[in-house]
């Protein structure tokens, strides 16, 4: 018996008991009291008639006195029956109604419904704990990658309201995610559950969720958000797969922006939400940086700047944080000042600064500093730390602030600010993890490449993708990921990278995609050459449009197609297929295939495939 039914029955015990007892007393009374029939003889009611009488009396219907008018003794007893039975009926009805308003009952029903819906999920899904801004962004990312999502959120009504606009159905549970029961209801131990994503606002709760998930189902993937190092280490100790520290992520993004704006652009573009298109790179000028707020965030930024040999001027309201000030560069200065007024900014040398960093933990101070700085120098680069989710619209307006029409020149059209939005950072990382963990490896490996390399990469990528949304996929050369290819390698054949990039219907052109990286063991090869030979257990990372991905997959799955790609002769298995192939070939040529010719052959000069 499930919890809901049991709860209901237990509650109804008292009213039902009362009804049975009251009915019994009434019936027995009626049986015992003698009546008088029309001739004056005494008679006794039968059980059946007594039950009938009591029934329509208790429910206040009141047909009448049957079969003969009652004696006064009977009538006296009837009065007693009326009051006893009617009240007990109302008591029963009242109990039922209050039951359906009872919070515990409703919660039990909610949990049961939730559990049923989770079990009925058709796609593999991730459990998202915490449905604030970050949770919403994560759920959107999951749905974009065609995963299901299950949400656990403590605050009531948040889930229902915000999930109304969601594309597919998302079961949501209104409970504390750190309780193991919630995770069990969300089906953490089911086969369809691919992982648990813990993005609540509190590190301790995230830690708790990670521990519970790992204990309930050791193989489940856990992605956790953590703001503090000690929690991070704790989470790593019991095997959390991915920990996202928004501060660290932003710090490395900032480093990327300083070091190589084109690389930052690539990162932004490949991991961004589906609607983002290629934007222009950030433009950071020469000069020192002014840093407001020397807390955790500020110190990290200061470290990064110092590593790059960039001078920093720290502005703090009081002397108290001076002791943390590691002057890496003896040109660094520590100024006591407000940071939000023009005077302190002038003292910090804003006229010659490259950028300002609004890194305090108070949004009002940050925004005030930014506005003051922009007034003094409208083109200064701004790095902003957004503390509260609800202020994100304000931070987005930074670029628009003080755009004076007189100064409307090209430089203002570039991106001149970088905001640390915790949710966006986390959602981006998770999106990258979902698409292909290899993508994060690619970013990591390419951080240290120089600007020219990044520019070349951007131009290659935009050539194959254009305005469409970039699609990233990974091909792992093993029995599951590329059975045909593994077979070919097993026969000892040499397969080159460009072989699997051939168009499935025309092996003289390549598909419009770029191979970003090949991982072989612990070695990474970025932007490998087409002539590179593939080996078993390689992992390849590609970027292109979605239909190109679908075109490439058959080549690695089917040995026949691979043969076609590698040679100029197609060996069809049957006459029908060879004719079909010829027909498809003509159709494709008419509609125009997008692709690069191989070895200088032009598109119109195709060799006939001998069919």
């Amino acid at each position: 018996m499930n919890d809901v039914t049991a709860f209901f029955l237990r509650r109804m015990q008292a009213p039902l008991l009362l009804i049975v007892i009251v009915y019994s007393i009434s019936i027995v009374g009626l049986l015992m009291i003698p009546g008088v029939d029309e001739d004056g003889n005494t008679w006794h009611m039968s059980i059946f008639h007594a039950l009938y009488f009591v029934s329509y009396t208790a429910t206040t219907i009141g047909f009448g006195e049957i079969p003969y008018p009652m004696t006064d003794a009977q009538r006296l007893w009837s009065i007693a029956i009326i009051y006893m039975t009617v009240i007990s009926w109302f008591y029963a009805l009242g109990t039922v109604i209050s039951l359906f308003q009872d919070k515990q009952f409703l919660h039990e029903r909610h949990k049961l419904t939730f559990r049923r819906r989770v079990r009925g999920m058709s796609h593999p899904y991730y459990v998202v704990c915490g449905f604030g801004e970050t949770g919403r962004a994560v759920v959107r990312a999951l749905q974009a990658e065609h995963y299901g999502a299950v949400v656990i959120e403590k605050e009531a009504n948040i889930s229902e309201r915000r999930l109304d606009n969601s594309v597919e159905y998302v079961p949501s549970l209104n409970a504390d995610a750190s309780e193991p029961e919630s995770l069990e209801l969300a089906g953490v131990d089911a086969n369809k559950c691919r992982g648990v994503i813990a993005v609540t606002a509190s590190d301790e709760i995230n830690l708790q969720i990670a521990i519970s998930s790992k204990l309930l189902h050791p193989n489940v993937k856990v992605i956790c958000r953590s703001d503090q190092k000690e929690h991070e280490d704790n989470m790593l100790s019991f095997g959390t797969e991915h920990i996202i520290n928004p501060f660290e992520s932003f710090a490395s993004t900032f480093e990327m922006a300083l070091h190589s704006p084109s690389m930052h652009l690539i990162y932004d573009w490949l991991t961004g939400a589906p609607e983002t298109s290629l934007s222009t790179p950030v433009q950071i000028g020469e000069g020192h940086w002014i840093l407001l707020g020397y807390g955790r965030f500020g110190q990290r930024i200061h470290d990064i700047l110092s590593e790059k040999g960039i001078r920093t001027v720290v502005v703090e309201p009081t002397e108290s944080l001076n002791r943390f000030f590691n002057s890496h560069d003896n040109r660094d200065r520590f100024i006591v000042g407000n940071g939000t007024d023009a005077d302190s900014l002038q003292r910090a040398g804003i006229d010659s600064a490259a950028g300002v960093i609004a890194g305090s933990n108070n949004d009002a101070n940050n925004l005030s500093m930014i506005m003051t700085a922009r007034q003094l120098r409208h083109d200064i680069f701004v790095v902003a730390r957004q503390n509260m989710d609800k202020n994100r619209r304000l931070y987005r307006k930074i670029n628009d602030y003080y755009i004076d029409k007189r100064h409307d020149d090209e430089s203002l059209k570039n991106v001149t600010h970088l905001t640390m939005q915790t949710n966006e950072i986390i959602a981006r990382k998770i999106r990258a993890l979902l698409i292909a963990p290899l993508l994060l490896d690619f970013i990591e490996q390419s951080i240290n490449m120089d600007q020219e390399w990044a520019n070349v990469t951007i131009s290659r990528l935009s050539a194959v993708i254009g305005d469409h949304r970039p699609n990233i996929w990974m091909i792992e050369i093993n029995k599951d990921g590329a059975p045909g290819l593994i077979q070919a390698l097993g026969y000892g054949r040499h397969v080159l990278l460009q072989d699997i990039m051939k168009h499935p219907h025309d092996n003289t052109t390549l598909l419009a995609c770029v191979c970003l990286m090949i991982k072989r063991g612990d070695n990474f090869t970025l932007l490998p050459d087409g002539e590179m030979e593939l080996k078993a257990f390689d992992k390849l990372l590609f970027c292109g449009t979605l239909d190109v991905k679908h075109d490439m997959l058959p080549t690695v799955h089917d040995l026949d197609r691979l043969n076609y790609a590698m040679t100029t002769e197609y060996q069809p298995e049957a006459y029908v297929w060879s004719q079909l192939n010829r027909v498809m070939h003509h159709i494709d040529r008419r509609s125009g295939i997008r692709g690069k010719p191989v070895k200088g052959r032009s598109k119109t000069h195709k060799t006939d495939n001998g069919n």
């Binding site: 029955l9 509650r11 109804m12 015990q13 049975v20 039968s46 059980i47 059946f48």
Partner: protein, 127 residues
């Protein structure tokens, strides 16, 4: 002394004993089976069923099941009696009487199982 347990056991055993009282006697002889006793059996079985509601344990589920079986059979017996007495004009024939008593016998078996389960549970956990 657990008052709830006393009441619970009281009604279960009362149901069984009353049922046995009604059942005993020549199966088709109406003089051996009192209609008021059948009334009492039905009432006490209903009370016992209500007391067993809402228990989520395995034992509780079985007890509830046996009570429901007993109630179903007794209600069927009462229906037949009502029909024969009031609705069709035949009155109590030996055939109908034996049917009624047979049904109450079935209910009695259900009550027996119920009581046995009760005794097992008590002997497992009680002193």
């Amino acid at each position: 002394m657990n008052q709830q347990k006393v009441i619970f056991s009281f009604f279960m055993i009362l149901a069984l004993t009353l049922n046995f009282g009604f059942f005993y006697g020549e199966i088709s002889d109406p003089d051996h089976h009192n209609v008021y006793e059948l009334l009492a059996v039905v009432i006490v079985n209903l009370i016992a069923t209500v007391l067993k509601l809402g228990d989520k344990s395995q034992v509780g589920a079985m007890l509830l099941a046996t009570s429901l079986v007993a109630v179903v059979q007794l209600v069927a017996a009462s229906m037949i009696w009502t029909y024969v007495e009031h609705i069709s004009g035949t009155g109590l024939t030996p055939l109908t009487m034996s049917t009624i008593v047979a049904l109450s016998g079935g209910a009695m078996l259900a009550n027996v199982i119920s009581v046995i389960l009760l005794m097992i549970e008590v002997s497992r956990f009680g002193r």
